[in-house]
């Protein structure tokens, strides 16, 4: 029923036999299978379209992140001292671990694509589940990294309170983990329920979900177990120091008073316990000080307390959180997509001529992986 048909006819028969399309088969199955949409002529056309669409989406994603990369480069150029000072707070071992986990998950993802191409359902399911476990491990490690920084007050620029007394009993980790706990317990419960009611399909499905989300807690455990690095260890000392001396009630100083105060990262390293509370307020004075009060506005001046060399690292952590945070959101979206694949694979929907969705989610997953490959050295390794 295509032009190609009519061309054949006109070539062979030199007739003007034109077809009036009969759409009576509209709501029936496409000759190439149940998942080929009506407006595609063949399964290949659909596969090619889907794949091209996915590649364009990935290009779009790269440009989305490129904005952040540019912001990173510009900010780094403007304020190299911030990056110098801030990288010590990132644990490159945890970052490296996450890199390895993501690389491994890319392998299993590719394997899953191959399996679905070969119609090996079990292999496909196992690989998808391993990929999801890896994604969750990644998030678990990231949760530890984030909460550790929050406990130290290493927030983004406006909320930056590093070196200041931190509020007690902030259960950042618990709040972050809550959704994962809920999902794990819920899917474990549902898996049991369906097992009991002998609904095999859903029992398997929720079992896989529960296993996948257990990965998050594995991630927490691993991150816990990795020994704190020299810098990391140092910064936790620092936190103790901050909260020990944290009951500052006399911080009534104008921002302008602090230009003469001497305090700084260097002195923290040397003798971190003999500083007065005034020094802490000196550090916060920097972020709250706007360009309004500066006679000569300059980006560099506003981030460094000139007298002491104290660096407000808020700018770095702004970029760090927005970049890794968006990446983590992409990981979450990946988990959702993988769950969808899991459902369709369990349902035996993929076959030799129809495995586009697995392929496309795979492409997406590799991209998320790739972005991390760039993020990791930019954030953790470059000094």
């Amino acid at each position: 029923m295509t032009t190609a048909d009519s061309v054949d006819e006109s070539n062979h028969g030199h007739q003007n036999e034109f077809h009036i399309h009969d759409h009576s088969h509209d709501h029936e199955e496409h000759p190439d299978g149940p998942f080929i949409a009506h407006h595609f002529e063949t399964a290949e056309q659909q596969f090619d379209s889907g794949k091209l669409g996915m590649w364009l989406f990935l290009v779009q994603e790269i440009l989305f992140f490129s904005g952040l990369f540019v912001a990173y480069i510009i900010y780094r150029n403007h304020n190299p001292e911030i990056f110098e000072a801030a990288h010590v707070h990132l644990d490159k071992w945890l970052g490296g671990l996450n890199t390895i986990i993501l690389l491994f998950s890319s392998l299993t993802m590719a394997w899953a694509v191959r399996c679905s191409q070969l119609e090996q359902y079990l292999g496909c399911i196992i690989n998808i589940v391993i990929t999801m476990v890896c994604a969750n491990i990644f998030l678990g490690v990231k949760a530890i990294e984030y909460t550790h920084k929050w406990e130290l007050g290493l927030f983004w620029a406006d909320a930056y309170t590093y070196g200041l007394p931190q509020p007690e009993n902030q259960n950042y980790l618990l709040w972050l983990s809550l959704p994962f706990i809920v999902i794990t317990l819920l899917s474990a419960g549902l898996a049991t329920f369906y097992r009991v009611t002998e609904n095999d399909f859903w029992a398997k499905f929720f079992l896989c979900i529960a296993i996948s989300f257990l990965g998050y807690f594995i991630g927490l455990g691993i991150a816990w177990a990795v020994p704190a690095q020299e810098h990391g260890g140092h910064s936790s000392d620092h936190a103790v120091h901050g909260s020990d001396h944290g009951h500052a009630d006399g911080e009534k100083h104008e921002a302008d008073d602090h230009s003469g105060d001497s305090s700084g990262e260097k002195s923290h390293e040397g003798e971190s316990h003999d500083k007065s509370d005034e020094n802490h307020s000196a550090k916060t004075a920097v972020p709250s000080e706007s360009v309004d009060t500066q006679a000569g506005p300059s980006v560099d001046e506003s981030t460094v307390d000139e007298a002491s060399g104290e660096v407000n690292m808020g700018g770095f952590f702004s970029i760090y959180y927005i970049m890794t945070g968006l990446h983590a959101i992409h990981i979450l979206a990946g988990i959702v997509a993988l769950t969808w694949l899991l459902y369709r694979t369990l349902d035996r929907q993929f076959r030799k001529n129809y495995f586009g969705p697995v392929e496309n989610v795979g492409l997406y997953w590799h991209l998320v992986d790739l972005i991390w490959i760039y993020l990791f050295p930019m954030m953790y390794l470059i000094h």
């Binding site: 009534k252 104008e254 709250s288 360009v291 506005p297 980006v299």
Partner: protein, 415 residues
Amino acid sequence: MFLFSQAREGSFSFPTQGSSFAAEVDSMYAFIFWISLFFFIVINGLMVYFVIKYRRKDKRLPEKSPAHHTVLELAWTILPAFILVIMFIRGAWGYLEMRNPPEAANAVERTIDVRAFKYGWQFTYPNGDITSELHLAKNVPVRFRISSRDALHSFFIREFRLKMDCVPGRYTEAWVNPIETRTPSETISVDENGNVSKGEKEPFHLQCAEYCGEGHSQMRTEWKDDGTWAFPVYVHDCSFDELTEFTTWDFDQNSNWKNGEFLFKAYGCVGCHAIEGAAQKVGPNFRADQWRVDRRSATGEVKTFANDAEFETYLSRSINYSTEFIVNGYPNQMPKFEFSPKQLDGLIAFIRSPGQETVDETGETTDPKAGEAGAGKEKQKIDASKSDESKSDNEDGDAAKVAEPKSSKNTEKKE
């Protein structure tokens, strides 16, 4: 052609040519204009001619004609490129001249600091003097070091064909060599009865060209009800050194009220605050009958004043730390200032009696307003203000109630 002339007084399309590079800009524009007009007439002339000549008559299909002609198409692809290259080169040439100050302007003693804020301008001259109108000397090139306190602004003087953004957090730079004079006496005339009116010449215009908020359209030259211009640009026929002497203000030689009036203009308060019954701007008007009237904030907090000292403390806090207390109905947009106690005294004296000066023996101002008490029916509030600072600094709020000594300590620091 009247559209563009090389005459200094400007043309139909352009204002007066006030700077050394204005003539080049105008003639560049005219150059582009005539070339564009030529192409425009050719294209549209042909279009109209074809539409008339080849309108459909009886049969639908036209006679055959070629559907492409490679040589012709290449020609009209490449030939315009040459014209564009000429435009680019001439434009770039003129621009580089506008951007790079000559040796004479590129010196510290020829640099004027331009500080833009919502909604006014402040110029600091090499001798440390500050004004809100721009004074220049004819044929003396000067360099501007431009910055902004808050949002983006743009320093635009149309007679100079000069525009440069004021970017918070960095300095930008511009220069000008004014070649036309506009002195205050040329732009404002006073008749024998003392009535002030516009003079025979318009002052040069200083305008903000980058949208910056509510008062954006008032950051420009404007004839005001009190017989002055806001943010005018004056070009005096004198040397730069004479000019800086001319604009110097001596706080010790003048009364508090005079100091206040000077600061009111120099710091651009006029940008947001009108005097007495004039049309209201972004901030509240300064009115004598609002002295010691209770103030209410948007959150319902009310300040009452038992005596003049309390009110004066309130005013000084409102000027230097404007975010502390925002009177209901006004935006939180006033920048922070760092006036010394002496300057604050002057401003307070001015605010107390904005219409006219009343000085007693000791040089202190007195309350002149017996007759003006009923002047305003609508409720007026003093002051409003700007951003961040003291979110966490409670002590500022406390200090407001404590009074004079502490507030003067605060203000001394930067002076």
